[in-house]
């Protein structure tokens, strides 16, 4: 089953083409990676998929429904949830509140419901708290539940972001450089969490620069260079592929 489908997706800024005629298909299972040198358009592609940028040309379908042109929050509620490259933990809220705010379809977020259905709001809040508590335990963040997220370490903040994604009951998660800037122990922990999520039925699509991590966790990868898709296959095949090698190393030769 095709979960995510991009056709001829193109996006330019001013004179620069950031994403150039990219077409790809993602199946609904497994962990897929998106790699490429800096500036190849990976994060832009994520922004396009999740609705934060509008396409210049092309079409994006998720679970066979067109999502290109829709608002980011609509896409998120369809089950396609993302993280950001620079961690965006809500620093002035507690860790617990960070997760609570991620719970979808909260009746309590509608002002009328706060007054008309107080019992239901309270019940939902209680259930969300329980769920958040469990997620915090899985992520080893239970002890810092009431700390302001801004006071956590960088690695912990990344976990908070992941925790938020989990609260949102996603069907597919887009992770933008999940291992950037964190220590190897945390990377181990993260790998286990991601694997578990995948085995629970959540499709994972991630951008990464950490090649060993990609090789270990991804069954298939896409490689981008200068906005174009240049490779699709397994990580091992990628390592032997001339175009991929050229993209990563060719830069240095041309620059000299």
């Amino acid at each position: 089953m095709n979960m995510l489908r991009l056709k001829n997706v193109t996006k330019s800024f001013g004179g620069q083409t950031a994403v150039n005629d990219v077409s790809l298909m993602l199946k609904g299972d497994g962990i897929t990676g998106l790699v490429g040198p800096n500036g190849s358009g990976k994060t832009t592609l994520f922004h396009l998929i999740t609705g934060f940028y509008t396409l210049d040309r092309g079409e994006i379908r998720y679970a066979d429904r067109v999502i290109s042109g829709r608002q980011p929050h609509t896409i998120s509620r369809m089950g396609l949830v993302r993280t950001f490259q620079q961690t965006r933990a809500l620093s002035f809220m507690s860790t617990l509140d960070n997760l609570l705010s991620a719970a979808p379809d909260q009746a309590g977020e509608r002002p009328a419901h706060v007054f008309l259905h107080p019992v239901r709001v309270k019940r939902e809040e209680r259930k969300n708290r329980e769920k958040a508590g469990k997620i915090l335990e899985i992520l080893n963040l239970g002890s810092v539940a009431d700390n302001l997220a801004g006071n956590l370490s960088f690695g912990q903040q990344k976990l908070v972001e992941l925790g938020r994604v989990l609260m949102a009951r996603p069907k597919m998660i887009l992770l933008d450089e999940p291992t950037a800037g964190i220590n190897p122990t945390l990377i181990r922990q993260l790998t286990e969490v991601i694997r578990k999520l995948n085995s629970d039925g959540i499709k994972i699509f991630l951008i990464e620069h950490n090649m060993p991590f990609v090789a270990e966790i991804c069954e298939e990868i896409f490689v981008m260079d200068s906005g174009k898709l240049i490779f699709h296959g397994t990580p091992i095949e990628a390592r032997e592929n001339d175009r991929v090698i050229d993209a990563y190393l060719g830069r240095e030769n041309h620059a000299a």
Binding site: F13, G14, H47, G51, F52, Y53, T54, Q71
Partner: protein
Amino acid sequence: MIYYLQLGLNGIIAGSTYAMFAVGLTMVYGVFRFINFAHGELIAYGAYLTLLWSQPPFSLPLYLAILPALAITAAIGLAQDRWIFHPLRNSKPITLLIGSIGLSYFLRNGIRIIWGSDLMSYGLESTRGMRFAGLTVTTVQVLMVASAVFFLGLLYVILTRTLLGKSLRAVSDNPELAGVMGINMKKVRLTVWTLASVFAGFGGILLALDTNLEPTMGLTNLIKAFAAVLLGGAGNVWGALFGGLFIGIAENISVAFFSPGYKDFISFSVIILVLLFRPKGIFGILEGVR
């Protein structure tokens, strides 16, 4: 027909003054990325300080009184930066905006304390207008346009021929890159504030020559300056010039169609329409994320 031409001429005269206000405001926005609400008070202080120096105990003739007045106005502009805006440079834009609103209120009330709230004027004898081709214009008005043209021409030279001017444009274009390229940010800062203050102050003097002085003159003209800035594209100096002229002409021609009480509506409408339909302005170049 002559009637409309006269209105148009009046518009150009007013517009050249608005252009003086607008270029300073847009330069500050271009370099520092915030709207200085207190820019209007630079306009007012330029006018009022000239009045101060032209009266006892100094009693300078008007054209000499302008010099110390502009110097002090520039000092006020630099002080604004030194004590308020530079310390706040890393805060959220809202903090700067609120700070500049507070500053504007502070300075405006300062005018009331020093000079009182009544209408004042430079006391020049009203000159008879000269007539040519059926249009009327006074010598003062000719002087206004001429000096505005002179100053704006000077600005052109500064921005395109001097190193400092080019640095200013570079910073306005790309602040991060400019810092890396070794542009002296401190000099740029001082230059921007000095230019903005002098232009605003001189514009205020021109305005006061043609009309009069009152404490809210800064605020009223800030809105017009802001409309001009938005119309031409925030950060675009020549856009601001165009915007100023446009607002001046539009305001004066509108008198033929609407009640004069709604004259200010022109600037308001321009602001609203630009923000709604073309936030980058006519000449602006901004990119947008959703």
